[in-house]
Symmetry: C2
Subunit: 413 residues, 2 copies
């Protein structure tokens, strides 16, 4: 069971920054990140994961909105960790493959082979305007560019054989140029001559992660990714996604075991189920209702402020809303509301605690059972663990859940 | 006297990697960088400086040619140092100001206000081809773009007031949007809407460094840079450069003391002058003559292999060679050869030991005297210290030179 620890600001819960245990000024400073990373490493997580968005988002005045550059944070964390993977998000839409290939190669070098690149295409019009565009290219074009950029990046990593750096002090020969090749990548979107200007990274090719759920996203992930992130909160739907992506990988000529599917999970672990539920209630109590209504309205693309908060979502409300980039997330949330018969107010609380990801509230054994069930049911190869508050809920997870996973032989370390 | 420690691979001397004390495989790994950085910090240097080039260069098979990404290295070093400045090179020709502004802001945040950006425009055709161009734009256009990019970066840093992040846990207000502004930079080369997605960096504006010596380069530095790097090996020429750039700063409406001029210096310090000279001879003995002839020919733009190595450079040899980007460096080297009446072989040794930068070989007191003379003569505000071998010659500098500079009250710490 592969487990990534998601570094989501001060935690994945909307109210994380308002909790008395949190210091919202810490999130731009290094000690906070070092503390979380070292706790995750000590607990036995396989990797740290840091998402990204290239703009201040709507509602930034009400939500934790500092978006630290993932490559800066992960490079710093490489210096204070020794074993855990470092997966940093970078967009293919606004950067050149030479920069991307080199940065991830260098992160891989300084971390001794622990770098991963979470490939995103960016979908927000505000991001486009920060990079001089009037709007984002459409979904298909963004994915076509992503494929072109990733091909160029991989070609640059491959431009050095692993043994090209000789560094023979006696003869004075530094490189064997016969083991280094130009790339001359001439794609529809990007060109690069190469070779790269750093030796082949220790992993050869740093790990590739991706999270698209659309048709194009699944095809991309199946062909290129080592790790696929996904939003799933229903076992049956997760199994269908898992089957579909693995089948696509086989069609693309890959061993399906080389592709690791990781749904997000929001764990709230405690000694008893009642304590865990009390913790969730405490967290939800710190979320500001007006902020959630605004965020939920934006997220779902409908005005929730006009609805009765204590009634279910009206039938047909969601018809035709949502765009291609967010469609799968909207479907997940509406599915949760219907399956669990939630009122609008309850749905908003669910949105606050992990935005539609699988919510696991209970004892260590209960959370471990849920994870094991998803693994055994072929719904997941592991999880992207999104702790509601960092480092508090990470520590709870380490204390209550990790020992049970270790006992059951479900983790590597 | 401001002192930067230049992280130049395994050292500024051509033969650094061939020295028995060096491990050429260490340069892609973190412990080497951490060791050098911590020694420089302990010795009292003001900042670390890391240059960059975005291609594997000609002759890469014979010279240390791993070019680690400066932002990756400096982010890692932020985690293992506490006081020393971190100056990373990044080109304005191949990156977008939103990325640049954000990365240096984040480096400034995680280092507690220690980030500096060394602004380069890139001049190598191989770099252009790595980024999909057939050739570099001409010198004037590169500088025009650099000005545009730097203006946009500074505007993005300025898009947040220092007190815009409120993070009031009680009220739930995270940002005061009235203290955050859009940028809407629409320059001739780059556009960005802004604002930035991270709070204003601790320094407000991270330090800007620049090294242009051409007319456009001097004008750019005088208007925008906090630190100017320069290649000088003659006191009179250095004084003229110093006067010129300071006068330009005044004309640009700046206090000339706000701009710090740092020539490069290659120090070889020992207990006696004879020992220092023996160290230089030892270093030069490890340089491969054929490699130096090839490198010198490329550097000067003339074929040195046809010349008598034990005769002076022929008169008029250099007329009309060199391009705009390298002109000042060629002039410095030819000036050294003429002033010191060097043979071609001796000039090649000089090229090997710091490529035309001021070479200071002697006791701690002698090197301190030289530095103090340059300061008192208004030829420098400090130095970019380019140790021939890292960490060996940095440690010698720390032992022999630093205590004397401290005694004389010439350093801050």
């Amino acid at each position: 069971m592969r487990l990534n620890a998601v570094l989501y600001g001060l935690g994945a819960h909307e109210a994380a920054w308002r909790m008395p245990e949190s210091d919202p000024l810490a999130v731009t400073k290094l000690p906070f990140w070092v503390d979380v990373a070292q706790r995750a490493e000590a607990a036995g997580f396989d990797a740290l994961f840091l998402g990204d968005v290239l703009t201040l988002q709507a509602g930034a005045d009400r939500h934790l909105s500092d978006a630290m550059d993932p490559i800066v944070i992960m490079s710093a964390l490489a210096a204070v960790t020794s074993r855990i993977g470092l997966i940093a998000t970078a967009s293919t839409s606004f950067d050149h493959p030479f920069h991307l290939a080199r940065r991830f190669a260098c992160l891989d070098h300084i971390s001794g082979g622990r770098a991963g690149w979470n490939i995103v295409t960016s979908s927000n019009a505000l991001e486009a305007r920060n990079f001089g565009l009037d709007a984002m290219p459409d979904h298909a074009e963004r994915y076509a560019r992503a494929a072109d950029v990733v091909d160029a990046v991989v070609a640059l990593w491959d431009s050095w054989d692993a043994d090209a750096k000789i560094a023979d002090q006696q003869s004075g020969q530094y490189l064997d140029l016969s083991r280094i090749r130009r790339v001359d990548h001439q794609g529809p979107f990007v060109r690069t001559a190469g070779p790269l200007n750093v030796p082949r990274p220790p992993q050869g090719r740093p790990m590739l992660a991706q999270a698209g759920s659309s048709e194009a996203g699944r095809a991309f992930a199946a062909a290129r990714a080592d790790i696929v992130f996904t939003v799933q909160s229903d076992l049956t739907a997760a199994q269908a996604f898992y089957r579909d992506v693995k089948a696509r990988a086989v069609k693309a000529g890959r061993d399906p075991d080389d592709l690791c599917i990781l749904p997000g999970i929001v764990p709230i672990a405690a000694a008893t189920k009642a304590e865990a539920e009390a913790r969730l209630a405490e967290l939800n109590g710190f979320a500001v209702l007006d902020h959630l209504i605004a965020k939920g309205s934006e997220f779902l693309g409908v005005d929730l402020s006009r609805l009765d908060l204590d009634a279910p979502l009206p039938d047909g409300l969601m018809n035709g809303v949502g765009n291609q980039a967010s469609q799968s997330r909207v479907e997940v949330l509406v599915g949760i509301a219907q399956r669990e018969d939630l009122t609008v107010r309850q749905l908003l609380a669910r949105l606050a605690s992990g935005r539609g990801h699988l919510l696991a509230v209970g004892t260590g054994a209960e959370i471990a059972d849920l994870k094991e069930e998803w693994l055994d049911s072929k719904a997941a190869d592991g999880f992207n663990v999104m702790c509601p508050v960092l480092p508090g809920d990470l520590q709870r997870f380490a204390c209550h859940v990790m020992p049970i996973l270790h006992q059951r032989g479900l983790t590597v370390s």
